[in-house]
Symmetry: none
Subunit: 127 residues, 2 copies
């Protein structure tokens, strides 16, 4: 008897039965099924569910965020395209005149302030 039903799994993982179904729906777990269709959570799944809880709490992530990470990992083309886009990142002006430099410095200050406020916002409003 190394496989629990959904309510038992809920008890030991801290998720509600409802959320276990939801987490399965978005593709983060796929428990096996009994002949009659009952979900059966093995030790691996239980541990995974507990760790998921920790992962979300530690990094202020949502389930959907983890689902995105999983997509990135599974769909090779996606990962490549996103990676390419992100890599073309903060290109600063090619012509570096004195004025440009000054402006860049100012921008940097503004950016730091913006980042600070944005971060605060995210912390307070993040799920």
């Amino acid at each position: 008897m190394d496989a629990l039903t959904i309510h038992e799994a809920a008890q030991t993982t801290g998720w509600s039965p409802r959320m276990l179904r939801y987490i399965e729906r978005i593709g983060l777990i796929e428990p096996q099924r009994s002949e009659g269709g009952y979900r059966m959570f093995g030790p691996g799944e239980l541990q995974r569910l507990r760790t998921l809880r920790e992962l979300l709490a530690e990094h202020e992530l949502g389930l959907a965020d983890v689902a995105v990470a999983q997509r990135l990992r599974r769909e090779a083309g996606l990962q490549a395209d996103v990676e390419a886009w992100l890599q073309a990142e903060p290109r600063r002006p090619e012509t570096v005149s004195a004025n440009d430099w000054l402006r860049w410095e100012q921008h940097k200050h503004a950016r730091l302030l913006a980042a600070a406020t944005t971060t605060t916002d995210m912390e307070t409003t993040k799920r």
Copy 2:
């Protein structure tokens, strides 16, 4: 001049000015600013914005999804933790032994216990 204002940038990229500000807010672009604080979009940013459009359309992504990918890339700890979780996919009970996940979990044992008790509290209070 090779830097456009927000409305001009909107014209050539297909985004609305409103969305350009939004995209900046969620951290996907950071256009420079003029002395007076006007956003100034250089050729690099314009290209990036057009490519972003393609990226979203081609892969059925949302802006928030790309933002998550960016977080994954920038926050080293996050990247590692998410990767670890995704990698621990419990494929068929026979293929992944209990020792595997147990060992992987060992350095986080204390936190798991804490999470479990917290969770129990939440369940009993039944929010």
